[in-house]
């Protein structure tokens, strides 16, 4: 009888090409996603060594990080970003890589377009020069972010050197109350384990609450695994996964589909398999979450008050919280409900999919964004944008006074013209509230699309449950 294995161990074992003693494993990579920001130096390295891209057919490129989200007809003023985009285009042309460039039908955030095209399939290994590659783990893939040196390694060899990480079961059980979403689950987890609770590990999300989530919601959860220090987060594939994948452009068809599903059904963790670490979370009492500090682990329920640094036992944590509250210009004991905001951002690889936009639009419909508040809605891909427009969601947002933009990373990373002004407060559906992340001096509250929408209408941080009928 073979040893019981976890989902991670099965995918890992299947992809180890060579494992020499005292060396990292040579791991085969099934899909390599690239974008304009972390790839130029890797292509330069290939050229310097006279190497080719080993598997251009397993490499897919898009433009998302430094791209403006204004219409193409608006001239691109940032010459540095423009040259980065044209370099990606030249690199893809020279090395034979499919590129979804600005203005093309399938362009969008790298972690949104991979799944929607059906490129991401259970059991795969997927890498990208972006830490939110963890997103794709929602399909039962081993997907993680890599640096540019590693981008070059994968371009050249379709393989990567990796030490086997440890496993970590994140068991999430319970029902989700109305107004509480996948984003609240992951923010609650991060507030529990902190930003390095998962370092050295791969999360596997299990439990009834995870089973009950849609694929898009699972992607939201897996996306922020890296904010807990875990390079990857996985969910075992099930009927929800197959239903999402069936019929997508790059998903297997006909007999191949049946064979693929049969293979995928072997992936879930065996009974009796053990993890190196574990944590449990019950969602039954979960409320909408919001962050108050300058890392994603500093979060609380939206109805709670900001913790007092003086009550923390550890001197380092105390100083860290004081520094964070100083940057945020917030006080211990202060509630966040009714705190005024300047900007509301709905978008990013965490929350820019059609279900996110539907949730936000459902709340905003027939209401107006508060005066003085700028609301930016940025669909994750051109495909999401078209779908939203077909459903009239763009009109809902525009009628409310929000800006409806082209697909891209936008204000999540503030390197494309969409950014906060110094001192501004934003409720953002993105994934990072680090100092200056959304613009130098900007202050970010991370929250769900529902919380963001409710806040936009009131101009103040709002418990969305109070606005749901």
């Amino acid at each position: 009888m073979t040893q019981a294995r976890t989902l991670f161990e099965k995918v890992w074992d299947q992809h180890v090409i060579v494992q020499e003693k005292a060396s990292p494993a040579v791991l085969y990579i099934d899909l390599h996603l690239i974008h304009e920001v972390t790839s130029p130096q890797a292509f330069t390295g290939l050229r310097q060594r006279g190497l080719k891209v080993r598997r251009p057919d397993r490499t897919v490129a898009t433009m998302d990080h430094s791209t403006p989200t204004t219409p193409l007809s608006v001239p691109m003023l940032d010459t540095q970003a423009a040259s980065q985009l044209s370099m990606l285009e030249e690199n893809c042309q020279e090395f034979g890589i499919e590129l979804h460039k600005l203005g093309s039908k399938k362009q969008g955030i790298v972690h949104v377009i991979g799944p929607e095209m059906g490129l991401v399939q259970p059991g795969m290994t997927i890498v990208c020069g972006d830490s939110h590659t963890a997103t794709h783990g929602a399909f039962g893939t081993l997907a993680f972010g890599i640096g540019t040196s590693e981008v070059e390694h994968v371009l050249a060899t379709q393989s990567l050197l990796q030490h086997k990480p440890k496993t970590y079961e994140v068991r999430i059980d319970g029902q989700l109350a109305r107004g509480v979403s996948a984003k609240d689950i992951i923010l609650a987890l991060l507030s529990k384990i902190g930003v390095h609770g998962g370092t050295g590990h791969v999360f596997e999300y299990t439990g009834s609450a995870i089973r009950g989530l849609s694929m898009e919601e699972r992607m939201t959860v897996c996306n922020m695994s890296i904010e807990g220090g875990a390079r990857a987060g996985m969910v075992a594939p099930d009927e929800t996964t197959y239903e999402y994948l069936a019929g997508r452009e790059f998903a297997p068809q006909g007999d191949e589909w049946d064979q693929a599903v049969a293979r995928w059904k072997d992936l879930p963790t065996d009974e009796g398999a053990t993890y190196d670490n574990s944590v449990t979370l019950d969602t039954s009492d979960l409320a909408p979450m919001i962050t108050y500090g300058t890392n994603p682990g500093l979060g609380m329920q939206v109805t709670e008050r900001i913790p007092d640094p003086d009550k923390l036992p550890n001197v380092n944590e105390r100083q860290a919280l004081e520094k964070a509250l100083n940057y945020m210009a917030l006080k211990p004991g202060q509630p966040l409900l009714d705190h005024p905001v300047d900007v509301v951002f709905i978008g990013s690889c965490t929350n820019s999919r059609i279900s996110d936009l539907r949730l936000a639009a459902g709340l905003i419909k027939d209401r107006k964004v508060a005066e003085g508040v700028r609301m930016l809605v940025v669909p994750g891909s051109q495909s999401v944008k078209r779908q939203a427009e077909a459903e009239g969601l763009d009109e809902v947002f525009k009628n409310a006074g929000a800006e409806w933009r082209e697909a891209g990373c936008s204000m999540c990373i503030a390197m494309n013209g969409d950014q906060l002004e110094p001192g501004q407060y934003a409720v953002s559906t993105s994934n990072r509230n680090f100092e200056g992340r959304q613009g130098k001096g900007g202050r970010t509250f991370l929250a769900s699309p529902l919380t963001a929408a409710a806040t936009a209408i009131n101009g103040r941080i709002t418990d969305a449950r109070s606005m749901l009928q």
């Binding site: 090409i17 060579v18 060396s23 990292p24 040579v26 085969y28 920001v37 972390t38 130029p40 130096q41 330069t44 060594r49 080993r54 990080h65 430094s66 940032d78 540095q80 980065q84 370099m87 020069g129 972006d130 830490s131 590659t133 972010g145 890599i146 640096g147 540019t148 040196s149 590693e150 070059e152 390694h153 050249a156 060899t157 379709q158 393989s159 990567l160 050197l161 930003v195 390095h196 370092t199 890296i226 220090g229 390079r231 191949e256 693929a260 890392n295 380092n316 100083q319 860290a320 520094k323 990373i413 503030a414 390197m415 110094p422 990072r432 680090f434 100092e435 200056g436 992340r437 130098k440």
Partner: protein, 198 residues
């Protein structure tokens, strides 16, 4: 890759936990297409006032540390994004080793590929090093990668862990791609077998 064997330097104290890669180098500096010139962006929002003048109280602006090469940072250094621009910026400024109690996985992996040594020490040693930077800010420590040892000014030594494979690459100054390429035939046969099974 820059070779690393031994290093003697003052410690540059930066006693914040969870220093993320957006602090090490903000995203607006990531629009470059090569690796040079990033030192200018290193800790830029902590280092400069809005008018571009240096912030007097920031440690990298202290004359004492202009030639120093070892950063002593709080727990979980380098969390956040996968940008290799973070080690490129640190190395570009002159940092060759970072000492902390822990490092984020991707940052550590990126650092080791750029001749930047992450030195993990226990909490007690970590605190004593910060104490040292207050009591004797000009004191130097000596790092010996081969011996995996850091020698403190009082002559005492602290061992630190380093992955054996990364260590041999650092000592030789070679990058890891050559090692993967040496398995080219294995990769080819793996691809052929996978193609059969779909």
């Amino acid at each position: 890759m820059q070779k690393f064997d031994t290093l003697r330097s003052k410690l540059i104290p930066l006693p914040h936990n969870n220093i993320d890669t957006d602090q090490i180098i903000p995203a607006r500096y990531l629009k470059v297409t090569d690796k040079s010139g990033l030192a200018e962006g290193l800790f830029t929002d902590w280092r400069y006032e809005d008018d571009g003048s240096p912030k007097e109280d920031f440690v990298l602006n202290d004359d004492r540390y202009q030639e120093a090469n070892i950063l002593l940072a709080g727990d979980n250094f380098g969390c956040g994004s996968s940008r290799e621009h973070a080690p490129w910026a640190l190395v570009g400024w002159g940092v060759q080793a970072v000492v902390s109690t822990s490092f984020a996985d991707i940052f550590k992996s990126n650092a080791l590929k750029n001749g930047l040594l992450p030195v993990v020490v226990d909490e007690e040693t970590h605190q004593s090093l910060f104490d040292l930077t207050e009591e004797a800010p000009d004191a130097e420590v000596h790092i010996d990668l081969g011996a995996q040892e850091m020698t403190l000014p009082d002559g005492s030594t602290v061992e630190f862990p380093v992955d054996a494979f990364a260590k041999s690459c650092l000592l030789a100054g070679v990058d890891q791609l050559g090692y993967i390429q040496s398995f080219d035939e294995h990769i080819t046969s793996y691809e052929q077998e996978r193609a059969i099974f779909g």
